[in-house]
Symmetry: D2
Subunit: 270 residues, 4 copies
């Protein structure tokens, strides 16, 4: 069976986060922040820096899906509250992952965009719950999901009534073990031809290596993605999770510069 | 980090379902029934047949995780009630998949074993909820999960207090497209060397072709699996889901005969 | 396009190696020997042992396809000569891998079966050259080859005139990294339904761990493979290649005992 | 073991094809032409068109590695002669795939760059033969090869004495079946950090869909690839092989325009 509600036979969807922040309107949105919210200070310092660079969507994980139960699991709702507070302070929209359908309602006032992680792309209870709220959902691609499986997961959300969905490519599992995942940029034009939904790229998880993030961010602009989501940390080597793929402030600054130059190209191309 | 509670450094776990039905005690357990509970009559006819063959664990899906929201989604709690009623009538233990942590408590009186499906192997909210009940859990391997990721998922359940866990190999995703999945029988001796938990094999999902099920069931005996889970339907070609991989009664009868012969071999070998 | 010459619409093929050694006639053939021929003494000791156990096909690599050019590359034609000499001494048939079409003619008097390795499954120049000799060819499955691609490779050989082809399943590449490859036993009944060619299983490469070889050899009998190919070394820990997956003599002895018991089962089943 | 001769610890390699055509000198080289040489007229028309656009390296397959022996196998040496003649007429350098080590010498005067296809990345006899000629070799990545396996294959060539090697990313096999392969652009910066060799991208095989080729060509510029190889055909829908991924002249024209705009960006970035 085919997708219906999220198919490209419908009008292109622009996701409005409020305060003039939109995803899918032709602008290239940069979402950035730490992999995990570790404490208020870490988050605040990151947001302060990003805000100066013009970034207006802040990410930060509070519920962390970790392979091992002995790894850092995130700060939970306390982390979401830090996110909300810091977001307000710097007038940034905030996004964070929710894993449990029971947390959707409680998190409603704490996030501007709900994120569904790769492991939960086919967690249908969660998808249905998110289909019943009136806030945007960012749906990450499953680790080995095909485009069809991914769009069908989006259809689950839309069918409940909420088609404010942003897709996020974050790399797929391949036999290449030099990188954490293999970023599939070809999926961007494919999704745009098949679906009405905007799509952003996560080059941090998609590569798992900070020295590759800026290069793949540039490529994301050029394949006409609607934005990127990037992990940034004040001190990546001391991060509680995924520090190896997090940019420090200096690298993030350089990334923004490169992306800005490329945006000019995209304008010239049109 | 390594597994602790479910590692083979602990005493081998035998899962006691009550009424003398045990998994992991050296016997080869056969779990069988329809992919989905479609109605009372279908389930009752299947159970009646299986019961005569000596099968004492009945499977039947009530919550069906389907790629498309437009596919048959199962009967939900009504399906679980049919399962409970039919199980009682034929004195069979029953197993069914739960996908939502909010359903765990309500399903408590309706199932003897909770099943976690492949798509939910890393649904940590669900795993933790199941770690807090005192009923066995069957944890299916994720579609591309490594052994380590799978055992770590079991560790999540055990860490909450419930180590009554049965692992179930159901095939992994590979490039071979002739079969639905590639059944990985080597994982059986590997799991037995690494973990205290019993492991059963699902040759129905593992192959996706009914004509291959009996052959792979035989092989499952020989690699020392603790049992198999097989899909059986009174009329596979009319099944609402996965009929192509379901056995009819005659094929199921033949499978049991073959397995019985092989069990003699296993006794001779020891 | 479909296979023609090697399809199951033709009469089942029995490969006659001479001296009464046949593959595909209903017997379960055991091919064994070292991964690589290292010197005369190593090979002679292995053959002497295997011969006592009733094994009558000896394997030994002379041209070794290694990922790194700095790894041991094999003894080349000198290795094939040792193989021929030892085979004659113990009246065993011999099989070895050829990688270069220019070596086919020169190796003609030195081997009884030419082996095509996984990396060369689609080396069409080599396949065509082997299609023009009147000796059997064992065609190993490519690392990520589908059944169709594999049978098409066999068709290349047959189309040149030589349909004395034995297929060999040796494990496919998957995301499971605990084992070297994932042995796909389901392919045995599939190949038997699609093709007239016999198929044997290589549990040594298929698992890459010596402690798993006997278990998967047992399973190979039960899925009706026509035989197995196993790596045996007088002193596996000192082997020049793949020692970790080679059996010592004691393990090989035990494997033969287990296989013999299972053969009785197969007779009972028919 | 690690790569030595092709590692980035050596001086960056620039491949000089003569007549001022260089790969790896900071320019972005466009190689283009039909998948297969079908006849003189088809090739001549393509070259005439490409030459006007400034393309100075012409591709065209004469030996076609096809999964089925019943598919069009190419014109062989006659195809290489057409390639040579047309190349001379338009003063273009020519590249074509060789599959058999016995053809290397005979093809010496017919090609400017030998191509090794994906299926032959680990055909060590062929690699060694090409290591002994004094012409450049383009080594395509194997369908599921890791970066390490790929660079090790290059090392085989270099170890024989020829380090005039161009790497070519052409997509890897993944579970995504919407595209023929998954183009792995991240491998470009990785290869540049690990190896001294230049790398070009093949977006035609890498996507298998003509409508995606220009987008991925643009992205190839931005990740700092040394060039692209693109399939172009006067009448793609009538091509004897891979027409679905071949550009017609109008699409090729547009691709060149887009690439030219991006090159300006790359200059601005440096």
């Amino acid at each position: 069976m085919d997708i219906k509600l999220v198919s490209s036979s419908n009008k292109k969807k622009v996701i409005d986060l409020g305060n003039g922040v939109k995803i899918g309107d032709g602008e290239f949105t940069i979402i950035a922040g730490p992999c995990a919210v570790e404490n208020y200070e870490q988050l605040e310092a990151t947001a302060k820096f990003l805000n100066k660079l013009g970034v207006n969507v802040l990410r930060g994980g509070a519920f962390k899906p970790r392979t091992s139960p002995y790894s850092f699991q995130g700060l939970g709702f306390q982390g979401l509250k830090y996110l909300r507070d810091v977001g307000k302070k710097y007038n940034m929209k905030v996004i964070s992952e929710i894993m449990d359908p029971r947390d959707v309602e409680r998190a409603y006032d704490l996030v501007d965009v709900y994120q569904v992680g790769s492991r939960n792309m086919q967690n249908y209870s969660l998808l249905k719950e998110l289909g019943n709220v009136d806030k945007p959902v960012m749906l990450k691609r499953g680790m080995t999901a095909t485009v069809n499986e991914w769009l069908m997961a989006a259809e689950y959300i839309a069918l409940e009534g909420n088609d404010n969905i942003i897709l996020c490519e974050r790399g797929i599992r391949t036999f290449e073990n030099y990188t954490r995942n293999t970023l599939d940029l070809t999926v961007v034009p494919i999704v745009k031809s098949l679906s009405k939904l905007p799509i952003i790229v996560d080059p941090s998880h998609g590569t798992g290596m900070r020295e590759l993030v800026a290069t793949m961010a540039r490529a994301s602009v050029v394949v006409s993605a609607d934005g990127i989501m990037v992990e940034v940390h004040p001190s990546p080597d001391n991060a509680l999770s995924d520090g190896f793929q997090s940019l420090d402030f200096s690298m993030m600054n350089e990334l923004i510069n490169q992306v800005d130059i490329l945006k000019k190209y995209m304008n010239e191309l049109e």
